[in-house]
Amino acid sequence: MTLAVSLLVASAVIFAVVDLVPGDPASFMLGTGARPDTLAALRAEMGLNLPWPVRYARWLGGVLTGDLGTSLAYRTPVAGMIVERLQVSLPLALAALALAAAVAFPAGLYAASRGGRAGDAAVMAGTQVGVAIPNFWFAMLLVLVFAVKLRWLPAGGFPGWDQPLAAIRSLALPAVALALPQAAILARVLRSALIETLGQDYVRSARAKGLTRAQALRRHALRNAMIPVLTILGMQFSFLLAGAIIIENVFYLPGLGRLIFQAITQRDLVVVQSSVLVMVAAVILVTFVVDLAYALVDPRLRGAR
């Protein structure tokens, strides 16, 4: 229910913002030398001269029936374009997130178990570097080493999922480039959450029961430290879905981020409007899933629902 309301509000905001943005798509398409009557005809055809409530209602009605409109620039259904781009962006985001978690969990656990000692300091220094490195520079470094020098993986482009192996190979380097800063952030969050829970009375109780330091960390502290980690994971996924634009550009990947960027430069308002709405829907969905995960982790949140 709240899900639907948030989406409706989001659609209204997106429509309002896009509508307010200066730049007339019709005049953009015809160029500056267009004759006024041609322009007027095109505007009428595109429905741009209708009053805004009608345009909003039409768009919303379409969205509800799965019709996201037709791209002004390419004259193809926007839904198809988004689905095509999601085939790159979704697996990429998931792979990057999985990779980040796979690195961050052991690193965070190790750092927390060595709290304040050399091992902890080393991991923390490493994550500091991971956060600080600009990821396009790291991406280019990966290309130089693994594509140009070693020739293990392709330097860019995406062959499509009908060649699964080639597709996976071409997403490998971008996923690593995206994962690095996220892994560093996640490891830091996990470490500080763990160190905080390690100071809790129930961890002391667990030690008094005979659990070793490592057992208490794994069995008692880890799950209690999951709430902030889940929050960060949810935010990272939302960011990776559309925020990968720089990495998509470095690797020439046809992802969602590039689609939106191109659509904005071309004043392709229908594409912008609809893909942003899809993004918002994705973020709301992820938030919802994260909320469900909270309740799964913490029994105290179950009764409140």
Binding site: Y202, R207, K209, G210, P299
Partner: protein
């Protein structure tokens, strides 16, 4: 048989325990008393092998001829929970909030005997039954947040005794509990010692608890045991000056203000106040139940009067307090402060300034980044900050016995008793007509508590301030109030002169409270 021999501990080169020797015979309760920081808890942690990082221990902790100090953490972990169990002060946080109580008790058995989950759960059930949490009302699948503080402490005890250890260490096990629950938990511990023959090391700052429970008592001061002996002997004829000082402080009665209630209109009038909470629904469309936390309560207080408000946890004293302070809305009836109605959220600053509050945990009520000067001056935002506010802060600090240079320091640089004095200075600075003290001395050591009580008594005389003293500790209530209100299930069931109510309680609730009050040997109630 476990014993501590010539144990010394230093943390970062600073000695915290000095040559401590203590025997813990099976089937006996050994009390360990002293002020906070005297080394009681450190002795327990040394026995458990859970000293903080950077601590160095010398001497010997002997368990059946083995020196526990020589064991590495792995071996020590095998003994913890199996041979030595421990329960801690804070039951609200001692249990993992994400694990069921059954799993937390069973974990001990799985850890030490590799028991299967089912078998461990069966034993866990028996242990929970033993500590007074029967299966019908307390299934294994409950989570800690579904239990009260006393019930959680029972779970913690079930965890500690799950594997029938030879030694149980209880570090301030009842300090955070109300007086009736305290009596029940102490009964349970006594029963366990008698039935299972375990040795109990009972650590507490409450001499009355030790006096009514322990077979032998050791008194600690500055990391040393200064006196040790059979409980009755030690209480009758204390040998060491520190023991005498502790006993005197515990038996201390502050000089009572001589001119109590002033005539005139009452400072506080509570007329038929009512507040109820909706209970969570059992099923999606079940009718909502209501809990009447405060049910038709009426009383009034004169200026300069000192009134105690007592009752078991959950009786509604906290809700009533919050209503008086204007933090919780009054649903029925009304509350008049100095003749003006208290309306939650809409009290003019001038009215707010007439009532101040001091809470149990002074540390939690201070912003750690502020200087004491700023903290104490905080209530001035109600009245406007006077020109000479800094002088007034200094004067308020002086009144509570703190040096003027305290102003420049931060709250973490003070001890618990000093923090409570700062909280009182903060309450005093705008000269309120009524100060509400919510368990304000419960967490303090006996000696500090005696000082604070003296201070309150003196201030009442000099400033004519009325005190509303909310506490579960009847001995404190007896020593500082003229009149006492007993609350039970949202209602005031008894209202009378303190001496009369505590000596000859009429209501069932008051009788329960008086009966549960621990008494020191040689103390006539």
């Amino acid at each position: 048989m476990i014993g501590v021999e010539r144990l010394s501990v230093a943390i970062g080169g600073r000695p915290v325990l000095d040559d401590v020797s203590l025997a813990l015979p099976p089937g006996r309760i050994t009390g360990l008393v002293g002020e906070s920081g005297s080394g009681k808890s450190m002795t327990a942690l040394a026995i458990m092998g859970l000293l903080p990082d950077g601590a160095r221990a010398t001497g010997r902790v002997d368990l059946d001829g083995r020196d526990l100090l020589a064991l590495d953490d792995r071996r020590m972990s095998d003994l913890r929970g199996r041979r030595i169990g421990m329960i801690f002060q804070e039951p609200m946080t001692a249990l993992n909030p994400l694990m069921t109580i059954g799993d937390q008790v069973a974990e001990v058995l799985i850890r030490h005997h590799g028991m299967a989950r089912d078998a461990a759960a069966t034993v866990a059930r028996l242990r929970l039954d033993r500590v007074g949490l029967p299966g019908a009302r307390f299934p294994l699948g409950l989570f800690p947040h579904e239990l009260s503080g006393g019930q959680r402490q029972r779970v913690a005890i079930a965890m500690a005794i799950a594997d029938a250890p030879d030694v149980l260490i209880a570090d301030e096990p009842t300090t955070a509990l109300d007086v009736t629950t305290q009596a029940q938990i102490m009964d349970l511990l006594r029963g366990l010692v008698a039935d299972e023959g375990m040795a109990l090391l009972l650590i507490t700052h409450d001499l009355a608890v030790v006096g009514s429970t322990a077979d032998r008592v050791a008194v600690m001061q500055g990391g040393r045991i200064v006196e040790e002996g059979a409980t009755a002997d030690l209480f009758r004829a204390p040998g060491h000056p520190h023991t005498r000082a502790l006993l005197a402080a515990a038996r201390h009665r502050p000089a009572r203000a001589q001119a109590p209630a002033l005539p005139g209109p009452p400072i506080l009038r509570v007329e038929r106040a009512t507040r109820s909470y909706a209970l969570p629904r059992r099923a999606p469309f079940a009718p909502t139940g209501h809990l009447r936390a405060v049910d038709d309560v009426s009383f009034s207080m004169q200026p300069g009067e000192s009134v105690g408000l007592v009752g078991e946890s959950g009786c509604g004293k906290s809700t009533l307090t919050r209503m008086i302070l204007g933090l919780d809305p009054v649903q029925g009836g009304r509350i008049l402060l100095d003749g003006q109605p208290v309306v939650a959220g809409r009290m003019p600053g001038a009215l707010r300034a007439r009532v101040q509050v001091v809470f149990q945990d002074p540390f939690g009520s201070f912003d750690p980044r502020w200087t004491v000067e700023r903290l104490v001056a905080e209530p001035f935002h109600l009245t406007g900050r006077p020109r000479d506010w800094q002088d007034q802060v200094a004067a308020a600090l002086a009144e509570v016995g703190l040096p003027a240079d305290a102003m420049r320091r931060h709250i973490h640089q003070f001890s618990g008793g000093q923090r409570q004095r700062i909280a009182i200075a903060r309450a005093l600075i705008i000269r309120p007509r009524l100060i509400v003290l919510d368990e304000a001395v419960s967490a303090l050591d006996v000696q500090v508590r005696a000082q604070v009580l003296d201070l309150l008594s003196r201030l009442r005389e000099s400033h004519g301030i009325a005190w509303l003293f909310i506490s579960h500790d009847l001995s404190v209530v007896r020593s500082i109030t003229d009149r006492v209100l007993v609350m039970d299930r949202g209602r005031i069931v008894e209202d009378g002169p303190t001496r009369r109510v505590l000596d000859a309680p009429e209501s069932a609730a008051a009788r329960r409270l008086v009966a549960a009050m621990p008494r020191m040997p040689g103390e006539t109630s």
